[in-house]
């Protein structure tokens, strides 16, 4: 890992809106070729961070470089090296899929020689060849996303940013989209940074994850390492006498992170199948038991104190459009 060059390095990057600190001194190093996830609830500062990295938003403090270029001082060079897929649809409704790509090929200076072939290749890659001449207005949500991904990758960017690439899509389309995101850049050696509030996406597709909340990075690492750090599956015990139970559990070697959660005693237990019977033999007053397997969700709860799903009610753009039309 250390031998690899950094595709992105972020140093104490901050963004303030008046008194509100949307991004609070974030520092990260992302090596070339990595698939990196920014995981956090809505409003955690993920999109703001991404906007600053793309040069769309001026940082209040700190600095960042993308593909070796400073995002403030060398904005044009940064923009030349990146592809971006935004959270809200950004392809033009009234243009066809092909016309959208043609326009962006011109904007990104894709050489005239081979431009047509590149557009055709990208359309084929995301499976839109047959619908290339229909207006995007007639595309489904998943097709739009695929078109945006094609657009983001068309000019061989060194870094691809994706902001909530699958929000508002049905599970089948989501796995489809991931197929494209995951396979294509690997082939071209692109570094990928995506934001998400779907834990399973981060767990499944990211080489490394940064957990972000309230503008701060709370933890960084491989999903499997982060989960391993929990020290086992989470056991939630209901009892009348919480103090005694907690005192007792804190003495047990296999129980880590013993705490109270909504009036119940909670701990991470290693080797659950062996240690749970031991625990229950010692603790006599338990009247309810719940087991939560060690997942990234548990990591998230550990660092933020909240379940990510609780405050993720705000859906994607399409969900909002749909509910408005009802």
């Amino acid at each position: 890992m250390a031998a690899k060059k950094s595709a992105i390095s972020i140093r104490a990057l901050s963004k303030k809106y008046g008194k509100l600190c949307a991004v609070d001194k974030i520092s990260l190093e992302i090596p070339e070729g990595e698939v990196f996830a920014l995981l956090g609830p809505n409003g955690a500062g993920k999109t703001t961070t991404l906007s600053m990295l793309c040069g769309l938003l001026e940082p209040s403090a700190g600095s960042a470089s993308v593909a070796g270029f400073d995002v403030e001082k060398q904005a044009l060079a940064v923009r030349q090296s990146i592809g971006v897929v935004f959270q809200q649809p950004s392809v033009d409704d009234l243009l066809s899929g092909k016309e959208n790509l043609e326009m962006h090929a011109l904007l990104y200076g894709v050489p005239a020689d081979g431009r047509k072939e590149r557009i055709e290749y990208m359309l084929k890659l995301v499976g839109l060849s047959e619908r290339q001449n229909s207006n995007v207005k007639e595309y489904s949500g998943g097709m739009r996303r695929r078109l945006e991904i094609a657009r983001g990758l068309m000019h061989h960017p060194k870094v691809l940013f994706l902001d909530e690439p699958t929000v508002g899509l049905d599970p089948q389309t989501r796995s489809h989209i991931w197929k494209y995101i995951h396979e294509m850049p690997k082939r071209e050696g692109t570094t990928i940074v995506f934001t998400t509030h779907y834990l399973e996406e981060a767990e499944q597709f990211a080489d490394r994850v940064a957990i972000i909340d309230h503008g701060k990075v709370l933890a960084v690492g491989k999903p499997s390492d982060l989960v391993a750090q929990l020290g086992g599956d989470t056991v939630v015990l209901g009892t009348a006498d919480q103090k005694t139970l907690m005192k007792m559990m804190k003495r047990m070697k296999f129980a880590k992170n013993v705490r109270l959660e909504n009036g119940k005693v909670c701990a991470s237990i290693s080797d659950l199948h062996q240690n749970l019977p031991k625990l229950l033999r010692t603790a006599k007053s338990v009247n309810s038991i719940e087991i939560r397997p060690a997942t990234l969700n548990e990591v998230f709860i550990k660092y933020t104190g909240a379940n990510i799903r609780e405050d993720s009610a705000e859906g994607g753009f399409w969900e909002r459009m749909m509910s408005r039309n009802k």
């Binding site: 923009r79 962006h104 990104y108």
Partner: protein, 252 residues
């Protein structure tokens, strides 16, 4: 960035605006219908009892209504940026490795083209109903329309770039568009005006556009076309400079 790719970027944005304009049929239709109502309903009604400087009233206001079409078309066009901004379309353009001046230029040319299409449509109708005396005069008016449109579209883009939400739309209507239209001499000759109106008329760039159109279509001018052209170029230069700056500063 080479000159070649600079102009390719301008071309890409210009092309997009033209395609979008023609595909939004509602926009094309309403852009033509409103001026027609002014000419036939307002002009026809008032013209039944009023004639100005020897020409019938409808003929007199035709250049003014052309100016109105340019003004309203341009400012509305500029304010479409807000809608682009509501979606992430604008972001996708702003994140492209293109100088913002190219984005502004492409947008300006796009808006000018939209407006020129409307003006041409109106002139054809004007020829049919003989509000416009000859084809040569109509062609002259199209040349004038390019200059007026450049000025007004840049103004529209300045406004659009500085607006954050569509809520300001009505304010722009009340405080920019209607005052500019009503004090431009589009509907009445600029003679014997009260002193305060006189000042406003002289500060209003559209007055010079109206005068230029009147020269092209009626053969009369109150200020001289040299002054008209110079003032319009001057205002355009200022609006383009301010607009480019606004685009450069634009964040999302």
């Amino acid at each position: 960035m080479s000159n070649m790719s600079y102009f390719e970027s301008v071309y890409a944005i210009w092309m997009r605006e033209i395609k979008v304009f023609f595909r939004e049929k509602e926009r094309v239709v309403s852009a033509i219908i409103t001026p027609l109502m002014w000419i036939f309903a307002f002009g026809g009604g008032l013209g039944a009892s009023v004639a100005i400087s020897g020409v019938n009233y409808q003929q007199f206001i035709f250049p003014g209504i052309l100016s109105m079409a340019v003004l309203f078309g341009s400012i509305f066009y500029g304010m479409y940026i807000i809608w682009d901004r509501k979606l992430d379309f604008l972001k996708a353009v702003l994140v492209a490795p293109v100088p913002r001046s190219a984005v502004f230029l492409g947008k300006m040319l796009g808006g000018m083209s939209d407006v020129l299409v409307q003006v041409t449509g109106l002139l054809v109708i004007g020829l049919v109903f003989s509000f416009v005396p000859s084809v040569a005069m109509a062609l002259l008016a199209i040349c004038a329309a390019m200059l007026v449109a450049m000025c007004m579209v840049s103004l529209g883009l300045v406004i659009g770039a500085n607006m954050k939400s569509p809520e300001g739309f009505n304010l722009v209507m009340s405080f920019v568009m209607w005052p500019m239209f009503l004090s431009s001499g589009a509907l009445f000759p600029l003679r014997n005006l009260p002193w305060y109106l006189d000042i406003i008329v002289n500060l209003n760039p559209l007055s010079y556009g109206v005068d230029l159109f009147q020269f092209c279509l009626l053969g009369t001018t109150q200020r001289g076309i040299l002054l008209d052209v110079l003032v319009l170029i001057g205002f355009s230069a200022v609006f383009i400079a301010v607009g480019t700056k606004a685009f450069e500063k634009m964040q999302v």
